[in-house]
Symmetry: C3
Subunit: 489 residues, 3 copies
């Protein structure tokens, strides 16, 4: 009878069908074929990667050395960013005990799709040649595509374990689209500077993910509670992600800043802020535990908050000690977020945020936007020199008479635009994802790779049996010990 | 009686002796000492790494900046390639549940030997100064040595778990030797272009490994079947390898292409092709499972097929959408290979291919060779400009009057040479490896690190005992439960 | 009664209190705030990272291209070094079965603090502007800070699992301070060359850690013996550290050598020496086991000895075969160290060296110092050219009339200075660490993450219970089997 009830219960709980055999291949093929067609129509090599145009450019501009090709300025940073996107974000999401495949695997899938779509979307908004109606791409386009997709990967962090791969493809399709639009508004119309993307990547991506997660709220998610946690080795895997993100963040923020002192200074500022975040994260994490023990969740995430918050200001003359202060504060704020805000959001705002992107991306990104606004507003000719001001803030063309003060105001406005785009866009995408056709898992089937992956049958994959065994072992002990004493007597 | 028979069976099965205490140190010392002697005779710093010669070169050529040193053009790419060789290939081979030490450790050993031998072999064939009889090495030589050893590591993929470390040293010694010869024929005599090595590295290495594995066919390999699979965490380890290969493949293909637009374009094309492979791999993997579940084997391997297949064509003007199409097709072909061809080869051709190098290297490499031939054949002055054609295809000296069409023919011929070298060379090396002196494991001892490594005694390392315990537990349950009911009654 | 005795025993053994809830946050906050104040007073951007100064420098020196900024010469190498510090050292120390969090996590914490303190200390000694009393930092400062902190991480290797995070902060504070002083004496006063830090980093760091460990000798450490070992997967994690150290060591040694042929040659020499170390390590490891099996400890560590020993000589014209010989010898020496010297030190000198830094850093570092001295002493105008000698050894200013022979003497003296600083400084710091206020673990609580971390409750985290179960299972077997036979009869 108990068995029968169990079966029925399991039947009703699992009424959701996670079989994506039709939808996932369909979406992958459809979108990949669309990419081929659109690339054929629009995408071309730019002047520095096309063999003919590069020879012409060298002749026209009297370039004597191939080392002047933008490839040599940006390719090493591009590769660092690339590692952050695929290994950094991917492995950071392997921390769940039975969702490591989904963490690193789906991250891989959506990033690979996203960069293609980003090359098109960003190209249409930023680099469309009005005469030929084509988009020219080079190494900077690849970096920007990686940046663009980062915002969708951040959103994935809030959804980790609760959505199907098909839903993730939708999240990425709209995420990249929204990103290209808000980026156009912020960087082109408002003429903000945001090289490392505190606003356009982190604030947008964080709130985008949170809004989706809020719309997709699962009241019975506690049914998967047993899987919403880490194991010893899954936490070590996640540290691979953390460290590659942490180490390469200076490259992330400096990848597309100005040649020369711009890239140089951005890397230094980010390096310093990140170092500072680590210490305050450790301090708050230890302080919050009654035995003073550190929590891996904090070390894996809040240590990165300094990098997020320096995304806008790192290329400015924020000074080294200014960078330290930013890292100092953000390490504290982010760790407090993991301790208090994430549980609060879940309990009172019905917002389930698996990786705590609220604390690592949304809030530090927003703060980074405002920090950038303040630092920009206080920029002076004394510190930058006239020419330096012009180069750093691109006070050229129609923006030639903008002052640092005005720029600060626009930077702040840009931050608000990013947040609004994230919240509104996320809510809309969340509604689309509530359609019952995407193969998302049932509440008791979340955080479980078995829903979408062939999982090898090792000990760990069959916990119910193990638990049963353990249960039986304890039972035996009682019996056996009594037997034993009988035998001894 | 049963126990006795079991013991006897185990005795006869294990007649093979995996003790390599004499042979392995002997081979290591002998070859390392030979390297020292040969390096002493032949190897010198080249003009850009010798302090005197670099000063002279700068003066002679009016080079005003040290940034013109080839180091700054190629070192970042070299380091990416280096990571692919040691972490990429190494961790990709950690997927087996009890052969991770052998996967990453032997890969490390043979790569470290191979690069030394490659510096000599490639030097003799490509860079021997006829006057001084010495070989000059620089950063490009290091990249080429890494490339050369990659073909032997690919061959290791087919042999993983079935050979001894001494056999692997033999495989590498001959693999590097054969590579240098076929590379000389293909690149120098046939004057093919193959910067990323679709032909010379992947097609050669893949067929070399397959031919060896075919000669070493083990009819009773099913006796190790329990170990020929992954665990949850070994699959996550393998993803480290996959992702570093995937991310750095643009550096692999562009590492030795022409300065300037050459390196730039190659990186872009490879990046695009790889992105496309991921989506079609996911699609086919999902389509092939009745529940639509993804298979880690496909994600770990077939996603890389686009990079392999672009090894020749990536430096040409294949166009971005052309790259997408290559990645699209190769993701499909490679995944189909894992689904159907590898089982077919094992069942009907008696070819045991542990990592499926047939699907990841042999076939995509061959296809890459032919794709390169086609793209070369269609190269036009219109697209490349006259000067661009000369630079891209090196139509200089004795090859000054070669046309793109002819070049295409030679590229196709080069692909065939690589395959023939792989098959014939592999068969010959396989015969050498059948000598009973190399300490290879018995059929029931394959895929097991205990044969060649000191393995820590954790739970996982003693599966037979564990199984016994589990067996006993179940037995107890029956007894205990009956006892229990008795006590209750 | 037995239970009571056990409790009492455990009470006395665990009288030490590992609760760092007050001390750790206090130290972190205090030092981070001190950093902010000191950075505010002293640290400024240098000429190549300050937007105004870079514009002025370009104009003053007629620099036409931003690619001449030192950022483009050194940033890729910096990032490789950065990976070595955080992923390389961090993951190398994850090999213990239950101390992976502490290995990678505390490494992260002290490195992040150390680099800040190093920027100040190294700045005061090497780059303090006498007029403005400020320190100018650029990418080379970041590399030097990473180098400086490496010596403290090496020291951590000797102490792994036996100290508290607060003690590690003390080790780093004094380690960085001592480093800056000995570096000033060796590089500035003695005018030694030591680009890759055989002396200043490895010999100093190694002996510093050994001296601390000697002072902190624990006679009852055997009580934690069950945890002083690896598991299968923790060994694979450690290989991540090994390989990133091994692959990027050429960048480590070449990161701050001379532009042009200097960086180029250093990378080549290091690459070659490392390759050679791998083979001799494998040979000795296999030779030392009666079944010829390899030991992961050797492969993880001794393979790196060639890189350590080339830290000084790699930038000289040591010749490629000279590099091979250095790697050859150091692989052997280091593996012998792990086999014989570490046990000897523990047994007879009461020196507990968890990671064997004696064999990987102290001895190869010392040897590297003397190898550098010899190679410097034999430097000739014939090989280097006059200008090359001056550039390589900085025979300028007050050192203009130094000969290679004299330089060799000073190099040897520098090595001795590094060792003395390590031993004396380490002994003094060790005494400080013996104060009973730092929260270090009890003897039976070493190598255990539970002392300082929240550890997820998976099977592996409760070994005592498991052991008990196993014990009980065996007991049951006896009983159950007898029952079974009774039932059968």
């Amino acid at each position: 009878m108990g068995n029968f009830l169990e079966c029925m219960g399991s039947f009703f709980c699992r009424q959701k069908n996670t079989n994506v055999r039709i939808t996932l291949p369909f979406v992958c093929f459809l979108w990949q074929i669309a990419m081929i067609v659109l690339f054929g129509i629009f995408i071309r090599y730019d002047e520095e990667s096309d063999v003919r145009k590069w020879l012409e450019l060298k002749e026209r501009n009297n370039i004597t050395s191939d080392i002047e090709n933008d490839f040599y300025f940006r390719y090493p940073s591009f590769q660092d960013v690339h590692v952050m996107i695929f290994v950094g974000f991917g492995f950071l999401m392997t921390f769940l005990k039975r969702y490591s495949f989904g963490g690193v695997g789906f991250n891989f899938m959506i990033a690979a799709f996203g960069v293609q779509w980003a090359l098109l979307m960003q190209g249409w908004f930023h680099a469309l040649d009005p005469v030929t109606a084509t988009i020219s791409i080079g190494v900077e386009s690849l970096i920007n595509a990686d940046f663009c997709v980062a915002s969708s990967l951040i959103a994935y962090g809030a959804l980790l374990g609760k959505v199907s791969p098909v839903q993730l493809m939708i999240v990425t399709l709209f995420g990249v689209t929204l990103f290209a639009v808000e980026e156009y508004i912020i960087l082109d119309l408002l003429h903000c500077r945001d090289a490392g993307g505190s606003m356009v990547i982190h604030a947008f991506g964080g709130y985008y993910g949170l809004a989706i997660s809020w719309v997709l709220y699962r009241p019975n998610l506690h049914q998967s509670k047993r899987l919403n946690g880490s194991t010893y080795h899954s936490d070590v895997f996640a540290m691979i992600g953390t460290l590659f993100l942490w180490m390469y963040w200076p490259s992330f923020n400096s990848a597309i800043t100005d040649h020369g002192s711009g890239q140089h200074r951005t890397a230094i500022n980010t390096y310093i802020a990140l170092a500072s975040s680590v210490l305050t994260t450790v301090a708050i994490s230890s302080l919050s535990d009654k035995r003073g023990n550190l929590d891996m969740v904090h070390i894996q995430n809040a240590t990165l908050a300094g990098g997020v918050a320096m995304g806008t200001a790192a290329e400015f003359m924020i000074t080294p000690y200014g960078s330290l202060i930013v890292g100092f504060c953000c390490g504290i704020i982010s760790t407090f977020g993991y301790l208090f805000v994430t549980p609060f959001l879940e309990k009172y705002l019905k917002l389930q945020d698996t990786c705590g992107v609220h604390n690592l991306h949304a809030v530090p990104g927003m703060l980074g936007g405002f920090i950038g606004a303040i630092v920009a507003a206080f920029a002076s000719e004394e510190v930058y020199s006239r020419q330096g001001l012009i180069e750093t803030f691109d006070f050229e063309g129609e923006f030639a008479d903008r002052t640092p003060g005005t720029q600060g105001g626009f930077q702040a406005a840009g931050t608000c635009v990013a947040i609004v785009f994230g919240l509104v866009g996320g809510a809309a995408v969340g509604l689309i994802l509530r359609l019952p056709i995407w193969g998302d898992p049932a509440d008791d089937n979340c955080y479980d790779d078995e829903a979408y992956w062939e999982v090898p049958e090792d000990e760990e994959s069959i916990p119910p049996v193990l638990e049963y065994n353990n249960h039986m072992i304890h039972k035996h002990q009682d019996i056996a010990e009594s037997n034993f004493s009988v035998e001894q007597s």
